[in-house]
């Protein structure tokens, strides 16, 4: 009890101590000043709250600020290099400026072509990736549990695995009746092997003591699988899904550039063919943002599925 009281008093003294320090130069500071002039008591509270919040989140605020500055510098460098048409072996003469790209984005949003391409690419990713996950995860679990299954499947997977998804393009066009299916298939192939291998790795690294503990508590084959092997493999499975998602985008863009009629990869390549240079950069940025977004979705799902991983 004494400890608890002591702790509380220490915590209480922290914001007061923080008040003595000069306020950090951040966008929040003017708000505090403005609030102070309107009503003394509430303004004081607000100021205290803001300072406390800043004191607690100093590291995060700093990394956000640094990140924003870094992005701004990147944009600035891009702007300067392209507006001055710098050319020292690497040629920026034809590279669009950020402003041009922004204009082209505004136009593309207005006429709706870009969103069509984006939606189609996302659909291909979703179908290819989800099918890959639905096959690779159970397959990896079964291969990890039953030696026979691994002995049968592993050699085939090892032979096929090193073949980059792009090398599947001609074969895929032959295999599938429609162009759409062949592109989805390439996306599937790209994400399949990272998911499979990581699931296998997860199964191999399950702590045998946990398996024994479950057996001592009366768990049988299926329960052990569901209650121990599967949750124990989840972190690895999600590593596989994240990597698989990255490779899925790589494969999709390549396939769309080679054989597509729609999609963001096709959009980017077509922009080059039609000498619409701002669209090249626009397509690239879209791909980057989509890749970022999809891996964020997987991370988010992982956080929901594995609450025990983020408690500390």
């Amino acid at each position: 009890m004494k400890h608890a009281v002591l702790m509380r008093s220490v915590q209480a003294s922290v914001p007061e101590a923080a008040e003595d320090l000069p306020a950090p130069a951040t966008p929040e500071t003017p708000i505090v000043v403005a609030a102070r002039s309107s009503g003394p008591s509430s303004a004081l509270l607000a100021a205290r709250w803001v300072r406390k919040w800043l004191a607690q989140h100093r590291a995060e605020v700093r990394s956000y600020v640094v990140g924003a500055i870094s992005l701004a510098l990147f944009l600035l460098a891009w702007h300067l290099l392209t507006t001055h048409r710098v050319s020292f072996h690497v040629r920026f003469t034809n590279v669009p400026t950020p402003a041009q790209v922004f204009q082209s984005l505004a136009r593309a949003i207005h006429d709706g072509t870009l969103s069509q391409h984006v939606v189609l690419s996302c659909r291909r990713i979703a179908i290819g990736f989800i099918i890959a996950a639905l096959i690779a995860v159970p397959l990896g679990l079964v291969m990890g549990r039953f030696r026979f299954a691994r002995d049968v499947i592993f050699p085939v997977s090892e032979v096929l695995r090193p073949i980059p998804a792009i090398a599947w393009v001609p074969m895929s066009i032959m295999l599938w009746p429609s162009n759409e299916e062949s592109i989805v298939f390439i996306t599937f192939i790209g994400s399949f092997f990272p998911i499979l291998l990581n699931t296998l790795h997860g199964m191999a690294s399950v702590d045998p003591v946990l398996v024994r503990a479950s057996q001592c508590l009366g768990a049988r084959e299926f329960s052990i699988f569901r209650e121990v092997y599967f949750p124990a493999s989840l972190p690895s499975i999600f590593t596989g899904l994240t990597v698989g998602m990255g490779v899925a985008w790589v494969s999709l863009i390549a396939a769309e550039m080679i054989s597509g009629q729609f999609g963001i990869g096709y959009f980017t390549w077509e922009a080059y063919s039609l000498v619409q240079y701002p669209d090249i950069a626009l397509g690239m940025i879209c791909i980057g943002v989509l890749g970022l977004g999809s891996s964020a979705i997987i991370r988010g799902i992982g956080r929901i599925v594995m609450p025990w991983k983020h408690t500390t």
């Binding site: 946990l210 024994r212 503990a213 001592c216 508590l217 009366g218 949750p231 025990w308 408690t311 500390t312």
Partner: protein, 296 residues
Amino acid sequence: MSLQAAITSDNGIGTKGRIEVSHFGLSYDSADAQVEAVTDAGIAVEPGEFVSIIGPSGCGKSTLLNAVAGFLKPTRGTVLVDDEPVDGPSADRGMVFQQYSLFPWKTVRENVEFGLKMKGMERSRRESAARTLLGLAGLLAFENQYPERLSGGMKQRVGIVRALATGPKVLLLDEPFGALDAQTRIIMQQILTNMWQRLKISVLFVTHDIDEAIFLSDRVYCMTARPGTIKAEIKIPLPRPRQQSMMMSSEFLALRRGLMSLISEESLKAMGGEVNDDALQGLAIDTHGHKLSEII
């Protein structure tokens, strides 16, 4: 609800197990030869008795325990629990591991519930049963925490409660406090004896800590170095309930000295040879007239 009622509500009271291991031998094939881990070991645990196995590291005491748990099949001899040969692990024989072995993806309460879930008990009943047990163990405040956030001592308390939740006939513990610091270990020993006295469950406890074995047990089996067999069986006539202060009593110390000499002899063997007092004559080790084997 008492601890006993909470745990044995399903099984009925008085189903404590009797363990009987006779002429137990276990060997396995290594690269070049057959290795004999345990040979001709015999132990017995009467219903409700607390028995420890002690011995130098690598003597096969954990092997013996794992055979009782059903993880290892004896090469020779028999392992009986309530006159039935052990055939694979079962919820009748609860086990506590040194590495805590809580499921990291389950909360404290879900860990305790696990055995009941495997028995097919419905959710609401097993939840309240687990809550009762956690309350008795003083862990109710942590029921929704994940094990990662608990201290070692708390983890092992959960481990013990989890093993007891299904109402096993015997409790097997494999150096359960080996990873804890000295203070926590003493508290855990006290908690374990309290629980055991209330449940009157049969306990087989493996340790390499002599004090721990004496403090907890009714009887202690001392094993030889590999290939392990039972070297001696020592009755611990200390009265119950046992207090920490007993560890200073002359009776305790006499038992300790006896066990110590048994163990150190075997430990030396396990390390590859016996210490020859004569060989140390010329060295600057002052043994104050004692034999080296008495000191170590």
